[in-house]
Symmetry: C2
Subunit: 454 residues, 2 copies
Amino acid sequence: MNNDKGIVIIGCGAGGGTAAQFARKTDRKTNITIFEKTKYPQYSKCGLPYAISGKIPKITDLIEFSDEWFKKQKINLFLNTKIEKLDYKKKIVYGKKQNQLIKKSFSKLIICTGSKPFIPSIKNLDCEGVFTVRTIDDAEKIQKYSKKSKAATIVGAGFIGLELADNLYKMGLKINVIEALPSILATNLDEDMANIVLEKINPDVKIFNDTIVTKLSCLNTSIRSVFIKNKKTGVKNTIKTDMLIIATGTRPQVSLAEKIGCRIGKTGGIIVNEKSETNIKDVYAVGDCTEYVNFINNKPVLVGLGSITVRQAIAAGINAAGGFYKLPKGILLTFTSNIFDLEISGVGLISNLLQKDTYFYGKYNGNSLPKYYPGGKPITIKVLADKNGRILGAQAVGDKAAQRINTYACAILAGFNVETVKKLETAYAPPVAPTLDAETLACDIASLKLSHRR
Amino acid sequence: MNNDKGIVIIGCGAGGGTAAQFARKTDRKTNITIFEKTKYPQYSKCGLPYAISGKIPKITDLIEFSDEWFKKQKINLFLNTKIEKLDYKKKIVYGKKQNQLIKKSFSKLIICTGSKPFIPSIKNLDCEGVFTVRTIDDAEKIQKYSKKSKAATIVGAGFIGLELADNLYKMGLKINVIEALPSILATNLDEDMANIVLEKINPDVKIFNDTIVTKLSCLNTSIRSVFIKNKKTGVKNTIKTDMLIIATGTRPQVSLAEKIGCRIGKTGGIIVNEKSETNIKDVYAVGDCTEYVNFINNKPVLVGLGSITVRQAIAAGINAAGGFYKLPKGILLTFTSNIFDLEISGVGLISNLLQKDTYFYGKYNGNSLPKYYPGGKPITIKVLADKNGRILGAQAVGDKAAQRINTYACAILAGFNVETVKKLETAYAPPVAPTLDAETLACDIASLKLSHRR
């Protein structure tokens, strides 16, 4: 392998850090350099809502790999360092740390520039008390501000928004959540499944669906109220609030990749293949700045999940260091969360992404234990399948939802039909699971519908 | 379908009851008759240890389908009814209930005669205070007797034995468990995995491995002590006890099936196919009285798990009633239990069943949550694979072990390799699961070993 000038990685989030780690595992000697514009090495962004509330004791606990760890691994990590110039022809990256210019040649480049929060158009956004939640710095500011606040408004009822709602509510704040779409978690769950979550959200947390924030009003530069408007009815309302947190998704940061000719896909992310390669020789890209194809329908999707970022980074790190690692031909978009003590999980496509009459579903609403055994918890599973019964997606809400969905992830990867999964021999014991687990019963119901169609 | 004389089912355990239920779902009109020798309709045998301790409030709570339920479904259930004669040529079953002879013609017969406890050779077994645990009657006797006892000895450290140990210990009894094999749970777990369980068992519960019970001694007809002998060292010992429970497995009851010519396999069970058919036309068999092939190595195994019984019964019921239902070509032997608050699960083959040098394993010992998130619990997963990496079995001990093993059940059914499962996109969120779940990391370790072999 011609890797004599080593590997340069841009960005030390979960993608960059993991890529470096696996590059080092693959090649004990090659030069590995990471440029990171913030002062923090790899940390968990997904943990931010829990660190704000103190569920995770210190925000800096989120740092998964310290400076020292990178040093021990002989990985050159430059924090507080922006990219000044990227010369692809000469294969040199110039980083700037304060007034110091750092020049690094590379044989392979891994771009892990992540994404930045999407900010909807709202008047007076420059009020004090308005936040996004993307970095440790954001979390520290929110934590500090929330301690002197009584009410918080969150824009966006996706996972981050609702996880924040949950955590800030537990800190004692009055919470309002404003969502432009017709239901919460609309990009992750079907509406009927999202409604189970909605019921579990403490009624003191007010959710406004179909609603946008139009304007903020400030008093002495600090936010005091939020003007909202229902998109369907046109009804306007004003909510008093001490802080506003914007959690309306992110946009990939691709300008650096674009400059050197990396192809950007329809979703706005850098196009990568199953080896995490871009179209440009010796250039890899990983994580939130990329798009990859969906395993089920082959359509491009933005990689917005830490779990996928880490997997892409393993591939990029190993391949850049001269090893060989291929991901499956597409991503499953397996996700989970826990909102107001309810576990939520899903994999594959949801109904909104499917054309009417091209699919059907089975939904099972039951208990995690046999009826006669005390302590069972509700579990609802919905499975979507095409007209031949092939599983397209599954959603679960309730007991051990994530692990139940992992089985579906495996089933989708196998191309399994609902007929196969309904017969899956799941583990049974009275204190653990019923003879027929919810994950098989959802398929049983789907299979019954399938047989009626035929 | 020529089903005019209807279906007769012998035995109303989980097999017979479920077969009747699914036969009725398939054919709303046909005659369905069940003969059951005890006074109880379908109940959960697996729940007996928990009903004894009162964790399940009443032993009769275990009854899953009542007399009334069968009546409503127009299924003729004859309890307390033994089989007097089975005339296969004329297709007539004669049942005897007290002095009443019940004659039923059938078009299809489903044999669900179950199994009976295996009793090892022990002197003075006729002492009072000696029990097996197979029926509600057994459980009632044990419960009553244990309330006046201070110490119990359990023969057999399989699941039933250890579940009993756990439950009787929680009732306040001093417990000794005598196991003839070198480790606990020896037919279900590799020794290293079983040892994790052993560590979790309260030290007040004494386990004697490699040990057999040779003799009991009685005082006034009641058991007072147990003579044990270590098979390896020859060392003898005496244990004071107020009761002895034998949990050394079961033997299939096949005499009725044998009489009409059903083929009995090497394991002693009735041979059935994926439609739950025996070799005799129009005769099905289901559950503990049968053997079926192992999905992984095609070798016959005794069906000793309620989960498999129920699945076979679904097939038998539907097929006998004129429908069509095929099980997968073999069983995975997925199991779970919870012993001393530790969840245990497994699927497929264990090392003892594999020839040396034909397989290798990956074992991961970690945590169920990311390091930075409080409340994570230990989880250990061991995966066995053949020399090409194809997964042969998996065992898990710890957090959500059963659901994690269900994913492996699906992976084995798909014929997946450790390379595939190590890349499986599992659900991640800080309060729920780490970015790389234990179930993928066990395969990662296995895959590393595989690459070193190549």
